[in-house]
Symmetry: D2
Subunit: 364 residues, 4 copies
């Protein structure tokens, strides 16, 4: 059962609400003997952390992670013991305010209406469980997942913001992590374009969507499983579980629907180090199983539903209301989705790495 858990051998359970005392996760099944530093986890959390630029929510959360179980200390390092790793992040900046309106109004595009329908009640403070605060826990788990697969590197980048696209010819992975880059864009020339565009959106009281691309390098061949545990399926499932995601594609994705068989085939030749593919339209996965090429996925994030501009809705009593969502919000939630997407891909691959080793006894 998977209401708040994902993964099978590398298994992550998250808990916590936007305005509760804390949130966190339990990672069960992490192999023993993995060495890491707390700063490895913190670094990923810092990349997702709010309040770092004017282009993201101004909520100030230090997002300091504490590890409560599952590790032994050895100097600066932590070593996993094979028992559950419980990680906790305190909520600090739950701004004291009147939730009167949000408690009673169904904000368009939010889960307010559906939570009430489903459960008969909801935690309206900051969106409760439906808040993207929950994704901090995923990022913490993902940081651990990265350590599970030797050599694997999982990176993400924002490739479109609203109607603006990057130029792939300028792709620079190093620039993605640059301090001058508030957008995780891989195209240095796109920064000023995105700045102007998003400033306009923000000042207009609006918001905008985005497309994020995740690439996993050094993924061992043979991970995944043929039918209902396809690696691409589980990556897609993980990415679709991120708040506001409306679409996912692997490799060339929807473009493949427009191609002929010849155009779409990734041909093979023998290289010096063994088989090599002449292209990677498949995104590193054939028949649900990794080929050894980079695994490539993209996902579409809808525009932030919380906007200052007025939208029509109803309230809990069925009265028609006009909703304006004040408060602190990301004008483009797709930006901070980059490290979250990386985490979900890392977790999916780590889980399959362990499952593959279990079922087949091999590590390719």
């Amino acid at each position: 059962m998977s209401h708040n858990t994902f993964g099978h051998l590398f298994r992550v359970t998250t808990w916590g609400e936007s305005h509760g005392p804390a949130l966190g996760c339990v990672v069960d099944g992490c192999p023993p003997g993995i060495r890491f530093q707390l700063s490895d986890i913190q670094a990923d959390l810092d990349r997702r952390r709010p309040g770092k630029s004017r282009f993201v929510t101004q909520r100030q959360e230090p997002d300091q992670v504490k590890i409560l179980s599952g590790v032994l200390e050895d100097g600066d390092e932590l070593i996993t013991t094979g028992t559950p790793v419980s990680m906790l992040i305190e909520n600090v900046d739950q701004r004291s305010k009147d939730y009167g309106e949000i408690a009673r109004q169904y904000r368009p595009g939010h889960a307010d209406y559906t939570y009430d329908l489903k459960y008969g009640l909801r935690d309206y403070r900051g969106g409760g469980r439906s808040s993207a605060r929950e994704t901090a826990a995923r990022v913490a788990a993902g940081a651990l997942a990265r350590k599970v697969v030797p050599g694997m590197v999982v990176r993400g980048a924002l490739v479109s913001m609203g109607v603006k696209d990057i130029d792939r010819a300028n792709w620079d992975w190093d620039f993605v992590q640059s301090a001058d880059n508030p957008f995780f864009t891989p195209d240095p020339k796109s920064v000023s374009v995105f700045e102007d565009y998003l400033d306009g959106i923000r000042k207009a009281g609006s918001s905008v969507g985005a497309i994020v691309e995740i690439v996993a390098d050094n993924v061992p061949a043979g991970l995944g499983a043929p039918i209902y545990a396809k690696l691409d399926q589980e990556i897609a499932s993980g990415l679709m579980s991120i708040n506001a995601v409306k679409g996912v594609e692997i490799g060339n994705g929807f473009e493949a629907a427009r191609f002929t068989g010849e155009e779409n085939a990734d041909e093979m030749r023998m290289g010096n180090d063994g088989p090599r593919f002449l292209s990677n339209k498949a995104g590193g996965i054939l028949g649900g199983i990794s080929t050894g090429q980079p695994v490539v996925a993209r996902f579409a994030v809808k525009p932030t539903s919380s906007i200052l501009n007025t939208r029509q809705s109803i309230d809990v009593d069925g009265q028609e209301v006009d909703v304006r969502t004040k408060g602190r919000h990301d004008p483009c939630v797709g930006i901070r989705a980059v490290p979250i997407g990386e985490a979900m891909v890392a977790c999916a691959i780590a889980d399959h790495y362990l499952r593959h080793r279990g079922q087949t006894g091999r590590v390719n």
Copy 2:
């Protein structure tokens, strides 16, 4: 664990290879007391069945389903007992032929290479477990899933074939099932366009991709769960598990990434029968939970990898080879993906219907 199983309370396990004696599924958790006729299952299988027109594979498989357990007979009707429903479909037309080449060559775009990498051996006869023959079992399970949610109607349609799109202004659900429509297209005017286009593709020894849209009407509000059991996530997971699918989107999907918050919001007003939405860009799901609107999903199917035209590849010994895939193949596998997509969506919703009832005790 989910190598060959999906769902939680409505749980489907499939088995079988392309050229084995049979394939089938076990549906565990189907509620007791559901009445249906064997012809209800067979009708869906017939829609997926190969050999019905020149636009699909010429393999002749009657795909007659047998139900081996889990039901009581009452005249023409079958009644589920709550125990596992085992369904079996015999393979009939496994053409006797020399598998020499296919056994040794890695066909581009197929799972040949990755199966060998993963398992160290593979059933090369007709693609073995990676063959789309497996999807017959899903369709049988989906036919039962449809009966689980009272009133639910799940329908699919082909909306693009290669570079050709339907005109949504002509959408006619009745036409989708018409005998004059070999494509599951909802646009009567598209038939001749698709015929000419696909005849050309076929005669050129090539293949082409497609986009399929699935719409589920009368889905109760409140189904799904907030975080890792989002209804859209599990629909996406199910659709991505179908052979050759490279992308999935819910509602307006990737288009949402281009929108502003105002454009993307589905506003609400009070109607005579309660709350109503003024649009359905969300595709019937907010925060992972159904709103009561139609649930809308689309998926992209890559072109059939088996083509007559020559592609470069290698064989099991690492020798470079030129591969031409003779034999019987669909020039556009996206066509027969329509009933398969319906089945996966029906199963995902049925599973959440039972889970919702279990956790909350409600049925909205």
Copy 3:
């Protein structure tokens, strides 16, 4: 979810009713490359098969297993491919008879009453899904599980029948499988005692319970997991899932409750081949993890509920009735429970073997 499935990486789903056309199982997650012969499976089924002596039910079922998927043939051998292994056993001797009484009366000790309460209907023919016919599928799966753990030997024996116990001083594993031994007793001297005792029980229209002991040798150390996946827990769970089982114990079991800490400790010394234990009161498991010693479990089987002697009950209309259960029944179902218990222990250990390899990357 586990209504009709058990195991995680080595995962068994069974289906079928007593009087349906067939029953079977799907084994998902079996490692690739395992070589076996069909006769390996059949041999275990033959040990469980009814009709072999006057001490078991006279229902004649050949229990010929067919493997429908998941294997390749190589001469006389079958090789697993890593895909689901579907096994099917036809029901042959569903005696045509009037089920009038059994359909309407709740037989004491049977599941008739509870199935009706739960599902609102039931398949009363031969007990439907609650029949011990289902256990044939477990035995088939268990035969495959034995092949998964190199060198493992799982054997069972009947150690008590009703008030009669074997003499452990006479224990002879070879005798258990002897053709002269209709009871799976390890004590040659007990055969005549059991024969006389059970003939008396049978002729009196009664039935009697039994205790069965299972011993697994050559179980690698390190299998199991600390908390909710303890090896002893999962063995106990598997044994308790067998029809009519009312108690399970590991090692010295309930006797441990009578012991002091000194008496109960299995002390250790260094032997020539490494650590050795001076006793095995723990039954080969400490903290839920195998020690490398033999794994020992015992389970109690209640007397067959179907007896000729009259018992008081009610019928589906709430009328009080006197029930006599005619037909073919085992006077001591505990006898045929021996190979079933072996199968459940083999499956539990095989599953943990794969899980251990997955999580830790080791095989001790």
Copy 4:
């Protein structure tokens, strides 16, 4: 997967070590709208809490539970929201001491040796994850589970301590919770017997085992499932997962193996309120499904492995050593197992209550 998780719809994940900063659990799937007070949880924890009498470990842990998520406050009450309930208990009395010996020696009967074999390292401080400290988290989860099934009452009692048994004729449930009763015994006359016996054991540097009985009243009929989700199976699994448990039985348990079919049958008559059973040898479960009678289970707890008396063992270097386990230990861990056993039974029944409602739409 269930390394540190149990249950399906009512799903409990625990984490934490004996000497880490805290331990806890996440309860996922708890229905929304359940009202309780924090003191309801605390009361059960207090019953399990160490340090309350000279007959249990002197470690002083207040075991104050904090609820970090999944609830709304309404005055003194908490209301579940349907999202994960995260509960945390801080470890306070991790006595600072030299772990030199315990870090290097394999204590007989403990998991030291097997953890090292499995994981290649272990947290030796207080036994790490294998410590019974973990069971506090179960008790917290169980307190919530009790609220899920309306009217259900789950109670436990110690029925044997070492070679001393209670007299069932004196059974008094009220006395079990009496302040004068440090043993959870239901027989007031047994207190002085147990006191003298256990004082002797304790002063001799030894320990002793126990048998605990759990009775669940007002369990709705129809809970459980036929084959691999039998209610008795899942209760047995839960009880076997408790540290030091070596055997489990349901109803008359092992005694059933000695009975004839007539003796063992629970006959039925019609009472004023519907069907009634004339006895309850089955322990309230037939065919894996609850009958509506009290559910009765018993489990055997081995003597505490940590004793002052010397036992032979080896250390991590394979050197032979004599082990004496100093420190604070329960002379009879079976005593504090009573509330733990209650918790596991409550959780198993709550899970099946939700599953039954999900699959069948009924609540009997």
